[in-house]
């Protein structure tokens, strides 16, 4: 029994780990499903619009949209059939939006000062949810509070919902709970998320203890530790402490926005973050623990080790490692380091999501708004000229723009307590 086996039995490994191509296939399929649901919505809305546009119709359109006022038949009716279906979101656009809302979730969590595990769990919930549910069907802005509240409960950091709602203007308990089952079922009831945080804290403690020992003249018998200490001169302890904070920042942001949780094990993610925070610390740590002088974490000779989970440095059972054939294998360090570097690279690429221009996000959100609210665009209230070209989807008439902007602003105030911009973005 090793920790590898234990990890392999977790839902995170069994259901939520993918190769890159599988992940992108899933996203494409989710996107396609989202498009189908948009099409269905528009089809229904067309039927409703054409029936309500008949002169006799006085009943309001049964609207799921937030503003029934717009549906009031005030202007001469337009021909719903002449309005083309909206342009759906691409998988990339969906992902951009999801990542944007994950960043928002990070900020939201900070408002409450929740610990890192609550924050991380919430972000991963949202990411996993949208892996299988298109943003075209479920707008993430309606889910972030639910997801965060659920995470407080699954991470044993429960606060009463009334207190939870107090911190965010206009947030009601009903709004938070409305989607709770949707989200819980959407993450397949897999509430246990294995974060790199424990591995990270454990390794820092290990490093500080070992280096403290070296400072007191111990550890002479451990050449790996000596090498580590030398590489981090003049003040190894201080250096590790400094690294800790930077590493944590990577773990609670870049690691959550990128796909590393799907592709790497928690300890690999931790080492990736450590590498980004300080290459010397990471490399010498890996060399100390898995290098030539280390007795653990050898590449198995007989049986190829699972590429996942090399967390044998912490609490690891040594039963298996101690067997002769594993001890004789070449050290794990070079192989591990290359995995760690690719993981780090993936995390770095996530920074692009924090820099997506606001206009781009607005554009996507507008598109999404159109997709999700066919009644508004097909209903008689909008002064949309009939027979517009498909460019209309992007460039509505002036009234449309004005109405759209007002609507946008109103939505922001209603649903979006943070006003749409990330702190520090503008």
């Amino acid at each position: 029994m090793t920790e590898d086996n234990l990890y392999a039995s977790s839902t995170q490994c069994k259901t939520w780990s993918f190769g890159p191509s599988t992940l992108s296939t899933i996203r494409q399929n989710t996107n396609a499903a989202g498009i189908r649901s948009i099409k269905r919505g528009w089809k229904r809305a067309r039927l409703e619009a054409s029936s309500s546009n008949t002169p006799a119709a006085t009943t309001p359109i049964p609207s799921t949209a937030s503003t029934p006022t717009l549906a009031a038949a005030t202007t001469p009716s337009i021909d719903p059939a002449a309005i083309p279906d909206p342009e759906p979101l691409t998988p990339e656009e969906e992902l951009t939006l999801v990542h944007y809302y994950i960043l928002r979730l990070v900020d939201l969590s900070d408002i409450y000062n929740f610990p890192s595990n609550v924050k991380s769990t919430a972000c991963i919930f949202l990411s996993r949810f949208h892996l299988h549910h298109s943003v075209q069907s479920y707008h993430p802005k309606h889910l972030i509070h639910t997801v965060l509240f659920l995470a407080t409960k699954t991470e044993n950091h429960y606060i009463p919902l009334s207190d939870f709602c107090k911190r965010v203007p206009k947030l009601t308990p009903e709004a938070v709970l409305k989607h709770e089952f949707t989200v819980a079922g959407g993450v397949r009831w897999d509430f246990d998320i294995k974060h790199p945080l424990r591995a990270a804290d454990g390794a820092i403690m290990e490093l500080l203890t070992a280096l403290g020992g070296v400072a007191n003249g111990n550890g002479a018998s451990d050449p790996g530790l000596q090498a580590l200490s030398q590489r981090l001169t003049p003040n190894p302890v201080r250096r590790v402490q400094d690294t800790h904070g930077r590493m944590k920042a990577f773990l609670t942001k870049e690691a959550l926005v990128s796909d590393v949780y799907y592709h790497y094990t928690p300890p690999q993610v931790f080492l990736g973050a450590l590498w980004l925070a300080d290459k010397d610390v990471a490399e010498s740590y890996i060399e100390w623990r898995f290098g030539e002088n280390s007795t653990m974490g050898r590449v198995a000779k007989k049986r190829k080790k699972d590429k996942r989970g090399k967390d044998r440095d912490k609490n690891g059972d040594k039963e298996e490692d101690a067997t002769p054939e594993t001890a004789k294998g070449p050290p794990l360090a070079p192989k591990l380091l290359s995995v760690v570097k690719s993981c780090a690279e993936m995390m770095t690429s996530a920074r692009a999501y924090a820099e997506i221009p606001r206009e781009e996000l607005m554009r996507i959100d507008k598109k999404l708004h159109r997709c999700q609210n066919p009644q508004k665009f097909l209903g008689a209230g909008m002064a949309l000229g009939a027979g517009l070209s498909d460019a209309m989807a992007r460039k509505p008439s002036e009234d449309g723009v004005a109405a759209g902007k007002a609507e946008e602003r109103k939505r922001k105030l209603d649903d979006d307590p943070f006003g749409g911009s990330l702190p520090g973005r503008d």
Binding site: A8, I26, G185, R188, M205
Partner: protein
Amino acid sequence: MSATAGSSASSSTTRQNHAAAAPPTRRTLPFGNGHTPVPASVAEHDDGGGGSLSKDGSDASDIDDPDDINTKTKRKYTKDRKLGEGAYAVVNLGHRRATTTDSAIPVAIKKIKVNTEFRDGLSMDAIREVKYLRELHHPNIIALLDVFSSKNQNLCLVLEFLDSDLEMIIKDSSLTLSMADVKSWMLMSLRGLWWCHKAFVLHRDIKPNNLLLSSTGVLKLADFGLARSFADPYRPMTSNVITRWYRPPELFYGAKFYSSAVDIFSLGLVFCELMLRTPFLPGNSDLHQFELICQALGTPTEENWPGVSQLPGYYVPQAENTTTMVKERGKDFFMNTFIAAGESGVDLLMKMIRLDPRKRCTAREALDAPWFSQEPYPTKPANLPKKGGGKGIEKVGSDLKRKAGELFNSNDETSGRGKKVARKLDFGGGG
């Protein structure tokens, strides 16, 4: 020795089966819509009955909707009859419908009631139970087969059906329990507990009626409503857990940082109970309970438990009629009371119920105890004394629906036993 080997072998088989049934890459196309991964069991089922479910055309089926998966999950099971109802949950006996690939199996469907006190959505007990049972797969831990929500947004847990529990066995005076039987139950409990602790999960409510027995005699840990993960540095935990009779001294002292040793202590007392056929330390109040611990095991002092006086609630009970200080009991004391266990059995017991949690053995160490590899060898599960039958079903039904931490069902409480109920969890929010 042989015991642990057997355990890890069988558990690894289970995992392999899981892996074989659901490799990550296969999850992409379970419904033919290509984007909905589902638990392996659902996917398997759909291979058989997927076609019949799509009464709607491809256009109308809203496959993006998680409710749809929920419906599919729900349809896999039928409800046969109610086993019991309590304040916390309703338990129904049901079965999984037979498909082309699987035969029907009986299941217990535990419907968590919407709690009138807790208005904040999914309750903590339900979340804990789902969270940990989704992860823990072991022959000696109850299997959570599926989760779905009912029409009224009640959470339903589909659990492996188990027809009796250890409490029923202990109380059934018509049964004779041999030491080999006790050994077998202890062995299976320890294997289940070992797996929990291995996965960094504390059960926090070990007691005879949470140790369920299958019709084939296999013991399984159940009721994870108080479980939590542990060993997070600097993160305090509540000491208001574990049903009183099985609660270890450090929790009475209000320890906020504790370990898997709390479960070991509880299981040690279950061990005693299996031999005595009556609870070893049946305190009728927390204070009384602690006096019983001091009398039976010894008074915690700095000498036998370094650091104990630093615990927030440390005190030494001044019992009226007993000698004020009892030295931690030695082997002679336990040999007198539990002679039937033999010397090696008593050795194990003593290691499990040491006062100082750091001196208690781990589940793993307990499994390595010589007692298990000595004669009489543990009874094979199939040959263990059984209660079974209709009454067993009712009892377990009513146990499953209990709120975590409760010792008796509400109707039992009126029968003069007093309210010996584990304190409710304080979530720290004052709600």
